[in-house]
Symmetry: C2
Amino acid sequence: MTDALITRLNYQDTDFTGKLDALLAWDSVSDHKVADAVADILHQVKTRGDAAVVEYTNRFDRRDVQSFAELVVPPEALQKALESIGAPEREALQEAARRVRVYHEHQRQESWRYTEPDGTVLGQQITPMERVGLYVPGGKASYPSSVLMNAIPAKVAGVDELTMVVPAPDGELNQMVLAAAAIAGVDRVITAGGAQAVAALAYGTETVAKVDKIVGPGNIFVATAKRAVFGQVAIDMIAGPSEILVLCDGQTDPDWIAMDLFSQAEHDEQAQSILISPDGEFLDKVEAAMARLLPEMSREPIIRESLRNRGALIKVDTMDQAIALSNRIAPEHLEVSVADPDTLLPQIRHAGAIFMGRHTPEALGDYCAGPNHVLPTSGTARFSSPLGVYDFQKRSSIIYASPEGASTLAHTAATLARSEDLEAHALSADYRKR
Amino acid sequence: MTDALITRLNYQDTDFTGKLDALLAWDSVSDHKVADAVADILHQVKTRGDAAVVEYTNRFDRRDVQSFAELVVPPEALQKALESIGAPEREALQEAARRVRVYHEHQRQESWRYTEPDGTVLGQQITPMERVGLYVPGGKASYPSSVLMNAIPAKVAGVDELTMVVPAPDGELNQMVLAAAAIAGVDRVITAGGAQAVAALAYGTETVAKVDKIVGPGNIFVATAKRAVFGQVAIDMIAGPSEILVLCDGQTDPDWIAMDLFSQAEHDEQAQSILISPDGEFLDKVEAAMARLLPEMSREPIIRESLRNRGALIKVDTMDQAIALSNRIAPEHLEVSVADPDTLLPQIRHAGAIFMGRHTPEALGDYCAGPNHVLPTSGTARFSSPLGVYDFQKRSSIIYASPEGASTLAHTAATLARSEDLEAHALSADYRKR
């Protein structure tokens, strides 16, 4: 028995469902040691503010700063970073930012109201959040594209102040990340990370204003800290490993599909790449392409591990079966690599982002197509949505009763209030009767 | 020194801010005993399904059922409840439901897409959640209005299956609650409550299909269970005590304002009623009205306790100060009881629902004006919104690159992917270059 490159499944297999469930299963490990360490850091920063952040930053990031002021990146440094990077990279960042901005401008919600015949006005007022914190990981996982994807929707929403925190291990910062911050309009950059940075944003310190929401990816310490401060402030989702599901009719170049699967697998060993097709020979061709292309990949060990642990090529009987499986998986990224994807779209119920046709690999969406690359993972597309402008706006209901309207409404309200034994509610309504 | 009915504050007080903060402070008590008990119940229901729910229900609700089937309310019972209640109550429920439905239909989001000059299509597809669970408390806190407010937005959103769980202590059910469920179009009612009902909805059992989201208020066991299953399924907010902030220019009938404050205070001892006015004499009049009206109230002890613990009448110098305070408090309910509230509206940034003018007491919005009465509490209106249709829909991004569009986008994507050391991303994009 050889060690297979990737799991092969067939919808006709006995216990196909059980096998699929096993493949999809993923649990975030909740570690008590991490939780305790994070609780301590949160408490220290909450009670001692700037000083605690400085101490933890010196310790964890091997820095040697005397005061919090040294953690604040001067605004000129952002502009300088933008000038320092290569022209192709600068232009690519600017073009990506432009497209992301245009797309997200379509998401802006507008206030509305309507007037009833008796003069009563009902509506909804949209306002942006005041302050948002953006976490950006340091080191290897420090992605400029993430800065654009998190910061631009907040600025399109009209957020007043966007503070980015990014650790600078040994004092080193990724210039592309700073350049992206400059392009996205980040208001302030602080070189701190981990739970201490999350705490500073959530509780505020002498130097950092408490924010309303914290977004952005991070390691287990950051995720645990975000979960702990949830409620005090809003947070975005806690992401699981990234995944792609490709549905293919068997007519796309197998090399293309193989590389699309690799592009997910190269993220990390827990990433998941699944291909579903009614064409068994096509699955063979893709597997052969993977075997051929893999040895040339710079991240070959990660890709190999990810495919072996969590990847799958699944043979189905029909495209309808493929769609049904897709709805069950509720993938983060869904590629519909077929001739006419629009005919399938109405049947797709749960997916973070849908990449349609043979010419739309996920990578285009990861960087520059326009839609957000922060997407619901691990089947949460059943109830969650891509990050967007609406994550940085909120709604207030508007009720403006005319004297006549109030009198009519008061009858209904008082009747229901009395049925709930809430007398003051009833009287408060009754007072407005004519 | 007399035991004051309600705290009086003045913006000019020394340490006004500190006093206000102390008044607003509210922390949900996280009790380890509760957390442990809930964790055990969740585990039992997750592993033993229906049988565990039956056992806990028999124990906690003093029931004596043999099988889960006995916990399911037959659909006829809902219709029968609707016919059994008084005609005025039935008509009031129907009228409230109608108005809530009309308002929420304005919130329905539509899918959209746009085509770029090179043929690339970008968009957003809106789909409803499949299954939603609605928690309704039993006994005294069992409010028919809550059933309408939680169920109607879900049905307007297009949710396929809405399951309501409601405990029936000693086998007793509130007929108004069942009638409201009938009117709102609830698909299924199960008489179970507590953490065991939340677990059944979150994990599924032999009889209950796993839901995508759980909404609705509940006691500390329910709230703890919801927090624990968050991530597995979506949940609505965990609500704190209800609060009202009234801004008044001093020209509204003091009795009206007194009763509006009572209507909040009568909910429970932790509820918060605050009035802010630039007119000190008006505050005196309202206090006098409260003293006069209070002894007649059926919930007098609760109101008295709530006002003493958490209520306040605050004198400011100007309406601008009042608005600034309001934005700081970010109230759940905000009454703007002035002659021309529309002139103040643009300055109001954070509030769950805004009740405008002298004829719009909160009670109208609690029952029948149309907007939702499930609102962000404890200052979370800074980053949260009223419950609405958007809580039961989700968005999928659509990207459909034309061959020409893909070729252009691939340049940008590949450049950025290489800057992030993600070679497979770059190649996957490169393959689509012409």
